[in-house]
């Protein structure tokens, strides 16, 4: 097929590519018949780039020659030194994506230009942007970033669209943890709530167990043996899911591991998992008892210790019909089909939510003292996407000329505890205090698109001057044209209600009628127009409709022509 879109699960430990064909979303395999490509990049002795299984082998031999788990550093400034060369997480991801693209092209016998890539639901704005950049480097156009648990639910739901069910997706991958609650009815797959942590996964269990064992058995691990040691511990961890004790051999030393060791090592991680589950259930507004089934995805959800947690909260509800490793990739493939408007999935609509609250930093004047650092939310977490909302902020004083709009992501009342996304400077706000209109008022509009990316637009109300910004971590990494294209794409979302056609029409008609009427009727009409203009200005969508309707009713009564 022309312009086929592939689905990609870009995981912490391994990645998978899939495609929707013949009514099914299926995982593609490489020449060796492997579906799972380890997310590892390494340099060979002669300097060529290795990726996947070869890189994994190389890493075992020489830990300094490559890097794994770089997904956890996406969106940060981390740099890895590979045989003396400096690599960023974005570049590493790009290499993996390029490999997946090659695999797909090879398997399908066609060139591939675009993809749907899955990201943890709890990925922040900067992490998502980093993923987009990686794809750009790999020569892939990203049609959509899909949240991993949502993809998993899609993998389950796309073949049973008529089923009515509430699903909890428990996605404990190698490095990230997401919980998402969805409702499926009449072909609608609706995400109710998502919660998670971007640094909690199977690797953390391995780390904790490794530390525990090192201190318990007083083992000294040399740097060059660290990869081997980790691999051994990891195997032991997996074995513990099947039995209560296991032993492994490390450089001639026999190390025994018991279930108690794992329990002791992972107590803190388990508490965090329970916390996230609780938060998600709370946010969904659905009691735990209404959840019909639990889908477990991500390799780490296979761990016995994790299964016990799930079983204790949702006894007997774990659904085993999806493959924990492949579900996300399959779901990404389904999403690709949805974008292509493939007829196999035309009855399915997916709606997702924003995982974080987005807002700006404000200062408050309390008892004459100005205190900085408060978070003023604009878009609440778990709002259905796409969404566009605005708030009006103002300067403290008429001589204040500039506002530094700092955008934050998070849930704390104080911005210091939230995640800084970026800032936007606005000037030209000083004004004459005697003017009727407050020249210091700024309307800040947040537009959150389906990829979970944020665009901020600030408008100085008195002059209608606009400043727009799509947030990215390091300016200059993306082509200006690309940003512009992205802006073009977002455009349909942000029409001010004042400029929406029906409202515009109502106002014009009212202005006309005003000239025709006299006396009380005229005063009345004035009253209606004022209110309508007021609610339009407030962008209070509920009110706009009702007030607009009463204006219209009144006009219909009074209009001589009509």
């Amino acid at each position: 097929m022309e312009n086929q879109i592939i689905g990609i699960d870009l995981g912490t430990t391994f990645s998978i590519v899939s495609v929707y064909e013949a009514g099914r979303s299926q995982v593609l395999r490489n020449e060796l018949g492997e579906a799972l490509t380890p997310s590892i990049v390494a340099l060979s002795k002669d300097g060529t780039t290795l990726v996947g299984t070869p890189a994994k082998e190389r890493l075992l031999a020489n830990p300094k020659s490559g890097v794994a788990c770089f997904k956890r550093d996406m969106g940060t400034d981390a740099m890895y030194s590979l045989s003396g060369k400096s690599w960023s997480p974005v570049e590493c991801s790009a290499v993996v994506l390029r490999e997946l693209k090659r695999m797909a092209e090879q398997a399908l016998g066609t060139t591939i230009g675009s993809a749907v890539i899955s990201v943890p639901a709890y990925f922040r704005d900067t992490q998502r942007l980093a993923t987009l950049k990686a794809a750009e480097f790999a020569g892939l156009k990203v049609e959509r970033l899909i949240n991993e648990p949502t993809a998993a639910a899609l993998a389950y739901g796309y073949q049973r669209p008529e089923e009515e069910t509430n699903i909890l997706v428990f996605d404990l991958g190698g490095g990230t943890f997401d919980v998402t609650i969805l409702e499926i009815f009449d072909g609608v797959i609706e995400v109710k709530a998502s919660a998670g942590e971007s640094h909690l996964g199977g690797e953390d269990y391995t780390d904790q167990l490794s530390e525990h064992l090192v201190s318990k058995h007083e083992i000294k691990v040399a740097t060059e043996d660290s990869a081997k040691w980790r691999k051994a511990v990891n195997t032991a961890k997996c074995c513990l899911s099947r039995g209560d004790t296991t032993t492994f051999d490390f450089l001639g030393q026999s190390v025994s591991v018991t279930r108690e060791d794992l329990d002791a090592a992972s107590a803190e991680l388990n508490t965090r998992i329970r916390g996230v589950l609780k938060k998600c259930i709370y946010d969904s507004g659905m009691p735990a008892s209404e959840i019909d089934q639990v889908l477990c995805v991500g390799g780490a959800s296979r761990m016995g210790i994790v299964k016990e947690i799930i079983e204790s909260i949702f006894p007997g509800k774990v659904n085993l019909s999806v493959d924990p490793d492949e579900a996300i990739a399959i779901g990404a493939g389904v999403q690709a089909a949805l974008i292509e408007l493939n007829e196999g999935v035309e009855d399915i609509v997916l709606t997702d939510v924003s995982p974080h609250t987005m807002g700006v930093m404000v200062s408050k004047k309390r008892g004459g003292v100005i205190t900085k650092g408060f978070f003023s939310p604009i878009i609440d977490r778990n709002t259905t996407l796409p969404v566009s909302k605005s708030e009006v902020y103002s300067t403290f004083h008429h001589e204040q000329d500039e506002i530094d709009l700092k955008v934050y992501q998070g849930e704390s009342r104080f911005t210091k505890d939230n995640h800084f996304v970026g800032n936007l400077k606005l000037n030209g706000l000083s004004h004459d205090p005697n003017e009727e209109q407050n020249g210091g008022a700024v309307e800040v509009r947040f537009t959150y698109d389906m990829n979970g990316l944020l665009e901020v637009e600030a408008t100085i109300i008195s002059t209608q001057r606009k400043i727009t910004k799509v947030f990215e971590q390091r300016p200059g990494m993306m082509d200006k044209n690309d940003i512009k294209a992205a802006l073009e794409k977002l455009k349909p979302l942000k029409i001010h209600p004042r400029d929406a056609l029906p409202n515009r029409y109502k106002l014009e008609r009212a202005y006309g009628l005003y000239e025709d009427l006299i006396g009380d009727d005229r005063a009345l009409l004035e009253h209606f127009i004022d209110r309508f203009e007021h609610v339009l200005g407030e962008q209070d969508f509920d009110q706009i409709d009702s007030v607009g309707e009463s204006l219209e009713r009144f006009m219909n009564q009074k209009s001589p022509a009509k």
Partner: protein, 560 residues
């Protein structure tokens, strides 16, 4: 386009969440979030709105079921309280009006709005025409219905659109009641229902003689109604009445509502207000008088709030902006409302620049209209509060006014259960607890302490509520804790009480710290006693721990 047409369904009785989901799913296929983001956002909004509305309705029903099942089954009233008619099992026959109201109540409860509007209410109206003595009862019963079943489903279709005929409304006023008119006024103002506002104001205008009735007719509200429409001539007419009535009585005997109405009326009439105010302001009445006399205080505040809307008043302000007045304003400054602050500013400016030529005040007419509207709405809200207080305080002072006809016990029981439930629900929200009957001892104690504290602060409603709950046996008459901790010092006890009632999430940090310290002390003491085997102390300890957990949860929520 309303939400129902957006979703492509008709709003009808018995609509379920499932129907809603189906309709939404159907529409969604043509309004995909990625293809038509704007259309999707609209559809989504409509869907969420509709879901809420249905949930509300379900909530009402669920509630009723809940408390029916939670209260001990209302046993057939014991034999000696009910006069038996004929056979022992004969159902008690309700008086006609109660029976009809009960029928309307049942229809609404089952969601049969149409039936209620077409059958039940006309029947009631017909009956009342020949029984004018029952207007009072009807008034209180209908207002209960308004309160119990707020606008159901679609505001346009909802039963609250039921507006009794003019004859009935006048009848109500004539029998010195105004519950229904007040309820309708609130409804009309909240909904911005212009037609209804006009209708109500017209009734009041047409029957001016009623305004002279010694009982409180919602004079100020009707004045606001007329203003909000805006029907200036009408406002003037009402203002005239208000003015006459107010000037006939002495300042002291005016109640708060009338005082405000009066100060508004003087402005509307553009008649002698300056004389009156200059009386007050030119030291014929001193600042001290104003501070000490509540009525004068309201005059003054009303004046301050209104001044910003009247261009001519600005000149007047200049003349009487004396040092005394400025001091007076400063005295009130912390508690002034927004329009009042504006007025205060004018005074200040006038006082400071009494030598400099007046600044040109160019105000667009339109703007000022809008501002005054907002002010009026604000003030109206204030009225609602005031009139509640004054209503209940009046009820307190006057001898209780028993309904002319005794309510049937079943109906009375029904009303009482409803009230019980609504009080508990309100308190539950305030104190942050679940109120399922029967209440545990701890919760009873918390409610008692909360209400007692409120009553002490002058909330008459709290006093009534407490009394009511005790009468109903929802909370025991005697506090179990008082006697139990007789060995605690009085100070400790009062601190403990304070602790139990420390439910205000806005407590300043210092207070919380102090409360925590006391809490720790108490906990230590209780632990010790519990160790010594004191069962009561053990229970109390548990209570403290629960109490602390729930408060911590509150604090955590606040942090988020």
């Amino acid at each position: 386009m309303n939400i129902w047409s957006e979703l492509g369904i008709e709003c009808r009785e018995g609509l379920t969440q499932k129907d809603l989901k189906r309709a939404y799913a159907k529409k969604l296929k043509g309004t995909r979030p990625d293809r038509d983001p704007k259309g999707f956002q609209q559809l989504r909004k409509a869907y969420e709105c509709a879901q809420l509305m249905l949930r509300d309705e379900r909530y009402v029903e669920d509630d009723e079921e809940e408390f029916v099942s939670d209260t001990p089954p209302v046993s057939p009233p014991s034999d000696h309280t009910i006069p038996q008619l004929g056979g022992a099992t004969a159902p008690v026959e309700l008086p006609p009006l109660q029976r009809m109201m009960q029928a309307a109540h049942d229809h609404l409860r089952e969601g049969k709005i149409g039936t209620a509007l077409r059958e039940a209410f006309p029947e009631i109206e017909h009956y009342l025409l020949s029984h004018p003595s029952e207007y009072r009862l009807w008034s209180s019963m209908l207002s209960e219905l308004y309160a119990t079943f707020p606008v159901l489903l679609d505001p346009v279709e909802g039963w609250a659109r039921y507006i009794p005929s003019e004859t009935l409304l006048v009848g109500e006023l004539q029998s010195d009641q105004h519950y229904v008119i007040s309820a309708l006024t609130d409804y009309a103002v909240q909904r911005d229902d212009f037609e209804l506002q006009k209708h109500l104001a017209q009734i009041i205008i047409d029957h001016q003689e009623l305004l002279y009735s010694p009982r409180l007719v919602p004079l100020s509200s009707s004045l606001c109604l007329a203003l909000a429409i805006p029907r200036v001539t009408m406002a003037k007419e009402i203002g005239e009445v208000a003015y006459k009535r107010a000037s006939a009585s002495s300042h002291d005997s005016l109640i708060v509502d009338d005082a405000i109405a009066f100060s508004q009326a003087t402005f509307i009439l553009e008649r002698q207000p300056r004389k009156l105010w200059s009386d007050i302001l030119n030291q014929r009445v001193s600042a001290k008088d104003i501070q000490e006399n509540e009525t004068l205080n309201y005059y003054f505040r009303g004046f301050l709030g209104k001044i910003i809307e009247d261009k001519e008043m600005v000149n007047f302000v200049k003349r009487c902006a004396s040092y005394d007045v400025i001091r007076l304003i400063n005295h009130y400054r912390p508690s002034l409302s927004i329009p009042e602050v504006a007025g205060a500013k004018l005074f200040n400016d006038a006082y400071i620049s009494s030598a400099t030529p007046p600044q040109k005040q160019v105000e667009k007419k339109r703007r000022s209209w809008f501002k005054s509207l907002i002010c009026i709405l604000l003030i109206l809200k204030g009225f609602a509060l005031f009139s509640n207080i004054s209503k209940s305080s009046k009820a307190d002072l006057d001898e209780p006014t028993p309904p002319t006809v005794e309510l049937a016990p079943e109906y009375r029981e029904g009303l009482a259960v409803m009230r019980e439930h609504s009080i508990l629900k309100r308190l539950g929200e305030r104190i942050g607890m679940t109120t399922t009957l029967p209440l545990s001892e701890e919760y009873q104690e918390r409610i008692r302490i909360y209400l007692e504290k409120q009553a002490k602060e002058g909330r008459i409603r709290a006093k009534h509520d407490l009394q009511f709950l005790m009468e109903r046996g929802v909370i025991s008459t005697e506090s179990p804790y008082e006697s139990r901790y007789a060995d605690m010092s009085a100070e400790e006890l009062s601190k403990a009480k304070e602790l139990l009632s420390a439910v205000d999430p806005n407590l300043v940090a210092k207070e919380v710290k102090r409360a925590k310290k006391v809490e720790e002390l108490l906990e230590q003491r209780l632990r010790q006693k519990a160790k010594e085997g004191d069962k009561d102390a053990e229970r109390a300890l548990k209570f403290f721990l629960i109490n602390r957990v729930s408060r911590n949860m509150h604090e955590n929520q606040d942090d988020e």
